[in-house]
């Protein structure tokens, strides 16, 4: 089941990249997808469709944060007095899966004023460029949203 799902995703990706629907290319695409899926057996599974849908629901908010983040950086860069006040802090990692932790760490890097320095199963080390950015992260909105995407493990 998992094998077929992986092969199907790979085959769709092949179709998107090739864009030609002749028998030879479809056949070699299917063969390549099956071969790669077979190679990947026993490795870590692709995220399931439910996770991908929840991720798609999370992305608009993340994109809005990226826009805010770019504006925030542009303001701090272009302001004559360069208003930054960097600090390093640790926050708890609320995620239970490696995938959720990676998503949270990357989201923190993309949102205004914070960069993840180190991500472990228990806590994350954050470099923040201002006090406001640190407070926004400690308010925990992002952690809640990422945990909603993460859901229950193995879905």
């Amino acid at each position: 089941m998992r094998f077929l799902y992986t092969a199907a995703v790979l085959f769709l990706f092949w179709l998107a990249l090739s864009g030609q629907f002749t028998g030879l290319l479809l056949g070699s695409g299917a063969a390549a997808a099956l071969f790669v899926a077979a190679l990947g057996r026993g490795g870590r599974a692709l995220p399931g469709p439910v996770f991908l849908l929840r991720l798609a629901a999370y992305l608009p908010w993340l994109f809005w944060q990226i826009v805010l983040s770019g504006l925030d950086v542009a303001y701090r860069v272009l302001h004559p007095s360069r208003p930054i006040d960097p600090r390093v802090m640790k926050i708890k990692n609320p995620c239970r899966t490696p995938l959720g932790t990676a998503l949270l760490a990357n989201s923190i890097t993309l949102t205004p004023g914070t960069v993840t320095l180190d991500a472990g199963p228990e806590e994350l080390v954050i470099h923040s460029v201002s006090a406001e950015a640190a407070d926004a992260l400690l308010a925990g909105e992002m952690q809640r949203r990422v945990m909603r995407v993460e859901g229950t493990p193995d879905v």
Binding site: F13, A16, L17, G19, F63, I66, V67, S69, G70, V73, A74, R76, V77, L78, R82, I84, D85, P86, R87, V88, A105, N106, S107, T109, L110, P112, G113, V115, T116, L117, D118, A119, V125, H127, V129
Partner: protein, 110 residues
């Protein structure tokens, strides 16, 4: 490529210019910020924003074709790869024990 009309040309032009401005502010930020960790902020964020704007602008210009689907795939890849690369840089500096610049110490970088 379907021939873009006036509205699509205008929208894509605005997005492309916004993208260039975001990347320009990223470059200025890398020069102006005092230390490694704070320089990573504009490099990782404003760059991502810039590339998102540029790719979205190209997608608007291209219309609903296979090429814009490929641009979308590139965009998704960049949204994953860019913060991951930033994190890899920041983490190696953190593990190597590089200290970070604090405001109290004065105005210039160590």
């Amino acid at each position: 490529m379907t021939e873009p009309g006036l509205v699509r040309t205008a929208v894509s032009a605005v997005l492309l210019v916004l993208g260039c401005l975001a990347m320009l502010s990223a470059s200025v930020g890398i020069l102006r910020f005092p230390d490694f960790y704070s320089r990573i902020h504009p490099a990782g964020k404003a760059d991502t924003l810039g590339i998102t704007f540029v790719l979205t602008g190209l997608m608007v210009r291209e219309g609903f074709t296979l090429v814009s689907l490929k641009l979308l795939i590139i965009l998704v890849f960049m949204l994953i790869a860019s913060p991951t690369a930033t994190h890899a840089l920041a983490k190696s500096a953190y593990i190597a024990g590089l200290g970070h610049w604090k405001k109290e110490k004065g105005k210039d970088a160590p």
